[in-house]
């Protein structure tokens, strides 16, 4: 064996789709036993490159070597046989089957007689080896997201993977689960596995990666640089091709009249359990109110109650004095409430319709796009083209289907639709989740711009840093209650962290809180 043997070498990989050069002579090497971060903006060609490595696409030209030997994968099965396993961002699990059944799915053994208990034991043995704990007899739907991800990892390990590809594994995880996941990666590497780690969260990359490769527009801009000696600013610059301001500039400004007034709001979640237990909030014109909190403490329900998508059990939601609680969504829209929804694929857009059809979603009723009973398609196209230019939406044309856009561009489509109508109130839920640094910056600047123009903004985010940068005030939700409201400029992370764990601000101030 030569010194520092490579687990994977990809040389001069070219992947061409009709009209697009997705990968242009890309070189990528993965050393045995390292964590190699693959970085790049949405649409830079990371997923394509990894699809070639996992057998989904065949490169137009170039060589892939696994353990030094050239390979040619015709299907994912070939890649798995060569010891390459991919953990996708969206899990590929059968919800109504058990953990063990999911792990065995598609394998040749057991053939007919399942004898699950025997395989349960094998799965437990595998879990012991790598410290990945999940009850093998639990059904997938009963598991938390982090546990489901462990099942996906176990699946690849059971198939004998030596190289694991993680596609944005932390995007779906809660903060505590992320810490655990990083531990898992370390223990996998300690046992000789090699990991390719795709992530947009630069601080995670900084923490865990040994080396990095950066792609930009299908080309390599940094090949296998050691992480030591790099910092976040440098990483961002390599990805975007220019310097990125991490903290967008927020101008001080006086806020105006009260726009949104939420009083004693109560509502249930989808399972019928109380999600909001008497929430009181106000937002003034030209003010950003950030909502912090661990996911699932009522944030989604709050946004849905304000926008008319969820029934309120009691209390009131007023925008400019107009009551919106328990009114249909159209009332909120007509009162000037914009909504950037949490789920951009399943709520914010219609995947098979064009960009044009997507941007007119809230504007087709009125002139110039709506024209009596008809829609003026020429006007609609002009409107969409303007937005495409103004918001720098990268797509072949406005007739492109929404589902073909990258996450960042889809979010720009949604944002452009929501803020062109000069909204009174913007309800933005996780507006930058899963986006690359360039897109995050663009979206944040658009929000601040709306603030300057006098919109009231409710910003729900799980990124504390984002909240601290953008918000004038930050309210913390815990178990459906507001634990306290702090000034964005003077707020401390500790203070907010305590409230996120359920200690009220007043209790902290009076000294009842345990010190951190």
């Amino acid at each position: 064996m030569p010194e520092a043997p490579y687990a994977v070498q990809m040389e001069n990989i070219v992947i061409r789709f009709p009209g697009v050069l997705a990968n242009d002579r890309v070189n990528f090497t993965l050393k045995q036993g390292e964590i190699h971060a693959l970085l790049g903006e949405n649409g830079a060609g990371k997923s394509t490159l990894m699809s070639a490595l996992s057998g989904l696409y065949k490169p137009t030209s170039g060589v892939i070597r696994v353990g030094g030997k050239p390979v040619s994968f015709n299907s994912p099965k070939d890649a798995i046989a060569a010891g390459i396993g991919m953990v996708h961002q969206h899990f590929m699990l059968v919800p109504t089957q058990t953990v063990t059944e999911n792990i065995l799915l598609g394998l040749d053994t057991p053939r007919f007689w399942m004898n699950l208990p025997e395989y349960d034991r094998k799965v437990v043995a595998l879990q012991d080896q790598y410290g990945l704990r999940v009850d093998p007899t639990a059904q997938i739907w009963q598991l938390a997201v982090g546990e489901q991800q462990r099942v996906e990892i176990l699946k690849t390990l059971y198939r004998g993977a030596n190289v694991l590809i993680f596609d944005e594994p932390t995007a779906v995880l809660a903060p505590a689960e992320i810490a655990e996941f990083i531990q898992t990666m370390r223990s996998l590497v300690a046992q000789g596995k090699s990991i390719i780690f795709i992530s947009h969260k630069l601080h995670e990359v900084e923490e865990v990666a040994d080396r990095i490769t950066v792609l930009r527009k299908g080309k390599v801009t940094a090949e296998g640089l050691p992480m030591a000696g790099l910092n976040r600013a440098k990483l961002a610059q390599l990805m975007v091709g220019r310097d990125v301001i991490f903290a967008v500039k927020k101008k001080a400004q006086e806020s105006g009249n009260v726009i949104l007034e939420v009083k004693n709001l109560q509502a249930s979640n989808n399972k019928g359990a109380p999600a909001l237990r008497g929430v009181n909030l106000t937002i003034r014109a030209g003010e950003i109110l950030g909502i912090a909190g661990v996911a699932g403490n009522g944030q989604s329900e709050l946004a849905e109650c304000i926008t008319g998508l969820r029934e309120c059990e009691s209390g009131s939601v007023q925008v400019d004095g107009q009551e919106l609680a328990n009114q249909p969504p159209i009332t909120a829209i007509q009162s000037g409430v914009s909504h950037i929804p949490e789920d951009r694929n399943h709520v914010g857009s219609a995947p098979n319709l064009t960009i044009t059809d997507n941007v007119i979603m809230k504007h087709y009723r009125a002139a110039p796009i709506g024209n009596g009973a008809t829609i003026d398609s020429a006007q609609a196209a002009i409107y969409a083209q303007n937005l495409k230019k103004t918001y720098d939406i990268l797509a072949p044309s406005v007739r492109t289907q929404a589902r073909k856009l990258s996450g960042g561009n889809l979010q720009k489509v949604i944002l452009s639709r929501e803020i062109t109508a000069n909204p009174r109130l913007i309800v933005a839920v996780q507006p930058t989740r899963g986006l690359d640094v360039g897109a995050v910056e663009a979206i944040q600047e658009h929000l601040l711009d709306q603030r300057t123009q006098g919109a009231a903004i409710l910003l729900i985010s799980e990124e504390l840093e984002e909240l601290l940068t953008l918000s004038d005030r930050i309210a913390v939700l815990f178990d459906g209650r507001v634990m306290g409201v702090v000034e964005g400029a003077t707020a401390s992370v500790e203070e907010i962290g305590m409230m996120m764990m359920g200690t009220e601000l007043t209790a902290q101030k009076s000294g009842n809180a345990v010190s951190l």
Binding site: N12, F17, P18, K58, P329, D343, A350, P351, D357, T374
Partner: protein, 369 residues
């Protein structure tokens, strides 16, 4: 063994060229005819002679072509009915029942009578058109309302309402309006007949025996209306938006429940119009089994036409021809076999729209320069 070529099938990442869907549909029909030809040859028939005979029976003369169009006429309207509902992902399997109710309501105009028996022809026919569409719309309203209000699965409710509609018709024609004990009403007065080309045989000799009736114009107008609604109107935009993503539609402020009811009524009205045209243009009375399953064939027609209203016309003519051909050859199952192959081929041809299929010369793995 190493073949000189390898077949690659990859998910399509580019836009589908505009001509491709039409090309694959035509190609599938040809493929279906070839496969059916092989089967015909295997059972000892000469497929060329059979197809020649089919052609003669369906397109070979003006009279034959007219027969084909007469069979295609109800399919056009029923196919449009299904296409409208399917566009919103409302699975209306009840066009058959809506067809029967349309026929029943149209017949009421004559049987009650709703307009005086000595009314002019235009009044009688207009009343029948309106009543036929109302009848179908009522039969669409029921499952639509149930779905909008109580989330009742429309596949089940529309399917079951088909049987209710057929039996409802039977009750009236057996029990109330039976013509001398037969399961049919007496023939309607000629004022209730849609004009046929053969009516003008005295002026134009060529029209004698041509049964083509005004209903086909209803079908063509309906296709234009449906096209306009779906691709030009605000309502059509709402239908497409709800069909693609109901969550996004609700988020954008659309009233989904109202649209479910309206689209089901529109769909039902189109199927009801087909029932009216069949009663007034072909059988000239209300009778048992006025539809040999048009409502179900309409589902296939809409699907093969990929919900495109103008393609519905072409597919309906093809299926009309197959119905006529089925009457002309023995065993009549042959034309059903061809229908089956056509459906099979068109559905399989979707692979070409969703994937890039490429034939690539196999080359040894080379070191790139």
């Amino acid at each position: 063994m190493r073949l000189p070529f390898t077949l690659y099938i990859e998910k399509r990442t580019d836009e589908v060229p505009g001509w491709l869907p039409a090309a694959t549909s035509v190609g599938s029909v040809i493929a279906a005819l070839i496969v059916s030809g092989v089967v015909l040859a295997l059972i000892g028939a000469n497929p060329f002679i059979v197809y020649q005979f089919f052609y003669k029976a369906t397109f070979g003369s003006w009279a034959a072509f007219s027969d084909t169009i007469v069979k295609a006429t109800p399919l056009i309207m029923v196919g449009l009915a299904c296409a409208v509902a399917f566009k919103m992902k409302l699975w209306n399997i009840g066009a058959e029942g809506q067809f029967y109710l349309g026929a029943f309501f149209a017949s009421l105009v004559v049987l009650v009578p709703i307009v005086p028996p000595d009314s002019p022809k235009w009044l009688v026919l207009t009343a029948m058109v309106v009543m036929g569409m109302i009848g179908g719309a009522i039969w669409g309203f029921i499952p639509g309302y149930l779905k909008a209000k109580f989330d009742v699965n429309e596949i089940i409710s529309t399917l079951m309402l088909n049987y209710v509609a057929i039996l409802w018709n039977n009750f009236w024609i057996f029990d109330r309006w039976s013509d001398a004990g037969f399961q049919m009403t007496p023939t309607f007065d000629k004022t209730a007949w849609l004009p046929r080309l053969s009516d003008y045989a005295r002026q134009y000799k060529a029209f004698s025996g041509i049964t083509l009736h005004l209903g086909v114009i209803f079908g063509l107008v309906a296709a234009i209306v449906v096209w306009w609604v779906l691709s030009r109107s605000r309502w059509g935009y709402e239908i497409r938006l709800i069909g693609d993503n109901p969550n996004a539609a609700r988020y954008a402020g659309l009233n989904i429940a109202r649209n479910i009811v309206l689209v089901m009524m529109f769909s039902g009205a189109l199927a009801g119009l087909a029932g009216m045209a069949e009663v007034s243009g072909v059988v000239h009375r209300l009778q048992e089994r006025i539809s040999p399953g048009y409502g179900f064939t309409g589902i296939i027609v809409a699907w093969l036409a990929k919900l495109n209203p103008f393609a519905v016309i072409l597919v309906s003519i093809l299926f009309g021809a197959l119905i006529v051909a089925g009457r002309e050859v023995q065993p009549s199952g042959i034309s059903q076999m061809i229908q089956g192959f056509v459906l099979f081929a068109v559905i399989s041809s979707d692979v070409l729209l969703r994937y890039n299929v490429r034939l690539i010369r196999t080359a040894p793995v080379e070191e790139a320069a």
